[in-house]
Symmetry: C2
Subunit: 318 residues, 2 copies
């Protein structure tokens, strides 16, 4: 069974780790990672979501933090601050920096990000085919009252506390999905949307040319796991992102934002938390496949059960 996952960072990476635990060694999983958070910082290319996926699936992640490397240090970053340059609030961990330097060397040698990612994964062996959403530099910027800032500045420096008026993807025009991305959606037996940020993670992937059409062309079902539990994001500050695009922070509103494939949207099925069990019937009455389960990814076995529930939801179509 070929499974394709659209993923942001921490939430998507943890979900995918659970999915792999559920599937076992025969898993055939492709992960399409959001690259809208990527940036050039001090001359090196930083790809937060790709790195979180590599480290989480490759066994190197800082478990409590959810991103970055375990046993990390910040000698370079602390010393860099003495120059008074750059983003002092954005720590480039010493080990993480090795990934950025390796990536930058290969990019500067002319390799596309998808090929660079394949090479970096030779070290991490994430157990999935990891694809960047795009080889092009399409970066999410945030419109604020004071102008546009890079998404990472809004997210990390301001903790999403500066009101966002919207998001723009700089470089979207003329960009393309990376090689393999559209085929991985069209040919999948099932596509899964983990509880990643629906606006700046999944939404960013969806906006790339051809991605929505590929999802609609997929013969297999598309199932999503709600990132909203009881009216709040499970993790992160998705509510601030949803506010900016005028979507309520509820499991139902996010489902309707994605939309039902039969009605021109991208999903067939929606798995919500038991705290939101009341939305299951309304969804079913409008043509959705839906159910509720405990969606808190407290550990790998619990996450494996959530992934199993998502697949179970569309089993009749597999």
């Amino acid at each position: 069974m070929k499974i394709t996952v659209l993923s942001g960072g921490v939430g998507g990476a943890r979900f995918t780790r659970g999915l792999l635990a559920h599937l076992g060694p025969e898993a055939d999983v492709t992960v399409i990672a959001n690259t809208g958070d990527d940036m050039w910082l001090h001359g090196v290319r930083v790809c937060p979501d790709l790195d979180t996926l590599m480290y989480t699936l490759g066994g190197g992640v800082h478990e409590e933090q959810g991103w970055g490397r375990r046993d990390e240090s910040r000698r370079t970053s602390d010393d860099l601050a003495a120059y008074g340059l750059g983003w002092e609030w954005f720590t480039l961990g010493d080990l993480d920096l090795a990934t950025h330097l390796a990536r930058t060397e290969l990019l500067r040698a002319g390799l596309p990000l998808s090929e660079v990612t394949r090479r970096l994964c030779e070290r991490w062996q994430p157990g999935v085919r990891l694809l960047p959403a795009s080889d092009d530099e399409v970066e999410t910027h945030v419109a604020t009252a004071d102008g546009f800032i890079h998404f990472e500045e809004w997210w990390v420096r301001h903790r999403a506390s500066v009101p966002a008026q919207g998001f723009v993807q700089v470089g979207l025009e003329g960009s393309a999905a990376a090689p393999g991305v559209l085929a991985a959606l069209i040919d999948a037996d099932v596509v899964v949307l983990p509880p990643s940020n629906p606006v700046v993670s999944i939404g960013t992937i969806l906006s790339l040319p051809g991605v929505r059409d590929a999802l609609r062309s997929c013969a297999g079902p598309v199932v999503g796991v709600s990132p909203i539990v009881g009216g709040a994001p499970v993790r992160g500050m998705a509510d601030a992102c949803l506010d900016a695009i005028g979507v309520e922070t509820t499991a139902l509103a996010v489902a309707e934002h994605y939309g039902l494939r039969a009605d021109g949207g991208i999903l067939d099925a929606w798995l919500v938390d038991t705290a939101d069990a009341d939305v299951v019937d309304p969804l079913r009455s409008t043509g959705w496949v839906a159910s509720a389960t405990d969606t808190l990814m407290v550990d790998v076995p619990a996450t494996a059960r959530i992934a199993a529930s998502a697949l179970e939801l569309v089993r009749s179509r597999l």
Copy 2:
């Protein structure tokens, strides 16, 4: 008294530190640093001689090693090796890397290396005006039997043990000395050549357009300190470089290689070690100002005395 120094890395930096100790707080010293060893490595710009000068004069150098930062670590470099990329034999120290990242950020922002260096020196306060020889990327490559390799690969990886057939400066055509370099030579009250490598450090600076002419135009004297003591380089592998260009590894041969200004060369005076006192008379008989002293830079006070001896040698013309 305006003093201009042409410098390579360790030897030139230590000499300049001694010169500053001799001159005291009123020193007005410009250092023109060799940039032929510079390179792009993993996407960041490494400038070995500029860094050695900044760290040595700014109080941050690894004293025993002579280059790099004190209290250095190599977490990033060690982790980078796990990707199997790049120059595994070239360690980018974690603290040193902060300098490379700061430099790269400013270069990528479009600033010339001379302005970048000025900004980095705001942190290090080296007590001199530190100028890169050129803002252009003019890199020394070594011709070997197996083709050309970057100077740093020959020097650091092969320890100069692969026979060099010659040196080429890639990018020399169309390049220029950095802003301020020629003026610092023409307007100097005295120009000093420390015991740096005469081929790949001083020689590289001398080959930049206008530098030799500027030295010849200088109204003040030009005095050099021999890097060769008793037929061997004081430090490093200058003999391998001299061999490649057909110059004997002797204090006399290096003086003749530089040449007397009166005869179209670049020097007026040559300070040799007491071990080479026998070359003083032959030099004097051919028009040189010359003398011998203990030139081993064992500590800062000893180095200050060597610098004082060099200035004393041309005192009648100051």
